[in-house]
């Protein structure tokens, strides 16, 4: 057993307490807006996914969902360090990434219900959200498979000298896929503007990281590919934002790729409702996380402590997100299913006239 994992296959609680000085990021005039936007996006991921749980129980959900609940701070901090012009890819635990990148909730929810108004027209579903309008080049249901895609987007940005970066989300399980290593080597060699962001929740479905992975920290692997690798507290949205901002600045300045590992927690089962026959983690410990390491709760406490927001403001932020999510659910439920012939469209692009 390594120092960073416990018998539940999860990380030890991050060190807390001590000084928590008012952060420089929030000191400038727009600092409060930045802090509240972080909060808003974390609520958006949380409440959107809680709505999918309700849809699961009401029988409206046509498939399982893989929830990011517990991992919101890592995702939101990373995405907020980029703009909607930057590229992003992700994985099967997919809702949080496009939400945090700025995609509209209604079209994402419609996609999850398989509706014509879905962001992928109902062809992708929960695991394969993509919203090119905000730089989301797609989530991959095949673990690790989108890592080279993000690397390629960064390559395009480098060749076009566009100043864009690519943010590549993957998990600790995917860090054992060959394409992670192939991609990281290419990025390190070509100095590509890509940020490999590992949401390490300590589990690949049921397999504990210590049982499947030779090193205690994925970030160690950065050394093999000539890029900086850092570990951050994945429950701390500001830590994720800071590390990713540094990596983005480096990438935009031709300083090459970075690897960030956010140690985080998967609060729910691999897929919501999945029945795993043999218990592989202590449910009492998992239940306690909602009190001890809930990233939203932790951030709210700090906002109050720093005097950046009063409870009423926080309730207002949450209330606005609740209304957005309610609208998204209504929009998704009321939207029509695609007609049968839609199954046969979007396979090939029409090559513009005159180009061939």
């Amino acid at each position: 057993m390594t120092g960073t994992s416990t018998s539940t296959g999860q990380h030890a609680a991050p060190p807390t307490g001590g000084d928590d000085p008012f952060p420089a990021e929030f000191s400038h005039p727009a600092g409060r807006d930045l802090a509240l936007e972080m909060l808003r996006r974390m609520y958006a991921v949380r409440l959107f996914e809680e709505a999918t749980i309700a849809l699961f129980h009401s029988g409206d959900l046509p498939a399982m969902v893989h929830l990011s609940i517990g991992q919101e701070a890592a995702i939101v901090g990373a995405c907020m360090a980029t703009t909607t012009d930057d590229y992003m890819t992700g994985n099967h635990r997919s809702h949080g990434h496009p939400i945090a990148k700025g995609a509209r909730l209604d079209r994402l929810m419609a996609e999850i219900l398989g509706k014509a108004t879905g962001v992928c027209g109902g062809k992708g579903g929960s695991m394969h959200l993509a919203d090119f309008s905000v730089g989301s080049l797609g989530e991959s249901g095949i673990v690790g498979s989108a890592i080279p895609v993000a690397t390629g987007a960064a390559f395009a940005a480098q060749v076009r000298r566009s100043g864009q970066v690519a943010l590549c989300f993957f998990g600790d399980g995917a860090a054992n896929e060959g394409v992670f290593h192939e991609s990281a080597n290419i990025a390190g060699t070509w100095r590509l503007p890509v940020i490999y962001f590992c949401e390490n929740n300590g589990l690949a479905v049921s397999a504990k990281m210590a049982d499947t992975t030779a090193v205690p920290d994925i970030a160690i692997r950065a050394a093999g590919y000539a890029m900086p690798g850092v570990v951050v507290d994945g429950q701390d949205v500001l830590a994720s934002y800071r590390a990713t901002s540094e990596a983005v600045a480096r990438a935009r300045g031709d300083g090459g790729p970075s690897l960030i590992e956010a140690k985080t927690y998967r609060f729910h089962e691999h897929a919501y409702g999945l029945a795993v026959p043999v218990p592989y983690r202590d449910q009492a410990v998992v239940d306690a996380w909602f009190d001890t390491v809930d990233p939203i709760k932790l951030f709210v406490e700090r906002l109050l402590r720093w005097g950046l927001a009063e409870l009423a403001v926080i309730d207002e932020v949450r209330g606005a997100v609740e209304r957005d999510v309610e609208h998204a659910v209504t929009f998704a439920k009321e939207s029509p299913y695609p007609p049968p012939e839609a199954a046969y469209t979007d396979l090939y692009a029409e090559t513009p006239e005159g180009s061939a």
């Binding site: 394969h128 797609g138 390629g152």
Partner: protein, 342 residues
């Protein structure tokens, strides 16, 4: 078989002709000149080990000409991502047997990204790979894997049978907004693949999905793929001496297939032989045969016959290898079999 009809070309004849590697060089150079979004990536590219990248680095610079590490999956995914972000990558995968290490990227990303994301993505990627069989390369370098990819919707596939078609198809492929796999039969690198050079100053394009008919005939349709076209033409020449008139159809593109030309030809001749260097089971020949039977049944006067590589891996020894592939003799025998039915 028929080697007496071939001889060494004179210097003047050679100048009027185009070879396979020349065709690739010209297509790439012309398209990279025409469109700065086109980038070239491959193993051993800068050293031009395979001969398909003459002067490319000097002409277009290191940003657009990249030597890839031995990372086939990473490379194909890289090209997919780059195409989704505005480039038009051409990847030289060198030997077609190397596709297997990248299968997930071909199928899960390159072929599916556009469909699964509801048409948001465009993936203008060309992947070139040589069918490097019939030369003592043995099981790990001699595959002809294009039928596997015909089974994956979302990819386009070309298998040119001569250098002039190769140039025109490759240029069209680079301009196409979809992933195109170009399988190049290495047996055509030399004399067999040479063809009349397009006229000077002409932007020579062969559209994808359009078959050609290199020989017209009335008794039997022989559909050839890659070197299969050469074998079909040799067989047709020999059979003509016996008074058998063979029509040779070259699909050139396997996806999308030009079914209209094949159906029209078979409907006229009533007989069909398909020559395909791929392994027999679920080969391109199998698909073409099934299609012909389903759609031209009323016109058929004999069973459709496939001439393919046998269902076996490629053995190394010269004493073993040659027998497993299609040959002119096998094509002639297949045509005779169709003629046994009056």
């Amino acid at each position: 078989m028929s080697t007496s009809t071939t001889r060494r070309a004179s210097g003047a004849e050679r100048a009027a002709q185009l070879g396979f590697l020349q065709a690739i060089n010209e297509a790439q150079t012309e398209e990279m000149t025409r469109d700065e979004r086109v980038v070239l990536m491959g193993q051993d590219l800068r050293a031009n080990v395979f001969g398909a990248a003459n002067g490319i680095l000097e002409r277009f610079g290191p940003a657009r000409v990249r030597d890839l590490p031995l990372s086939e999956a990473g490379s194909i995914g890289l090209a997919a991502g780059a195409s989704m972000a505005g480039l038009r990558p051409v990847v030289d995968l060198t030997v077609a047997s190397f596709v297997f290490g990248a299968m997930d990227q071909f199928v899960s990303q390159l072929a599916k990204a556009r469909y699964m994301f509801g048409g948001q993505a465009r993936l203008p990627v060309v992947i070139r790979a040589a069918l490097y069989y019939h030369g003592g390369t043995a099981g790990h370098h001699a595959d002809r894997p294009y039928p596997m990819f015909m089974n994956v919707p979302g990819l386009k596939i070309i298998v040119p049978s001569n250098a002039t078609d190769l140039k025109g198809l490759l240029k069209s492929a680079i301009r196409d907004d979809n992933p195109v796999l170009c399988f190049e039969d290495a047996n055509l690198w030399g004399r067999k693949g040479r063809a009349l050079r397009p006229a000077e100053g002409v932007d020579h394009l062969v559209p994808l999905g359009v078959a050609s008919t290199p020989r017209a005939g009335t008794d039997v349709t022989i559909v050839g793929i890659g070197q299969g076209v050469y074998l079909a033409l040799e067989a047709a020449k020999s059979l003509a001496e016996e008074g058998v008139s063979c029509e040779v159809v070259d699909p050139r593109t396997l996806v999308p297939m030009d079914w209209a030309v094949i159906e029209e030809s078979v409907s006229r001749t009533g007989r069909c032989v398909v020559v395909d260097p791929a392994t027999r089971t679920c080969s391109a020949a199998s698909e073409i045969s099934a299609h012909v039977v389903e759609n031209c049944f009323g016109a058929l006067r004999a069973p459709v016959v496939r001439v393919t590589t046998d269902d076996i891996h490629v053995p190394f020894s010269p004493a073993l290898e040659k027998q497993i592939y299609p040959s002119t003799d096998k094509v002639i025998a297949a045509v005779r079999r169709t003629l046994a039915n009056p």
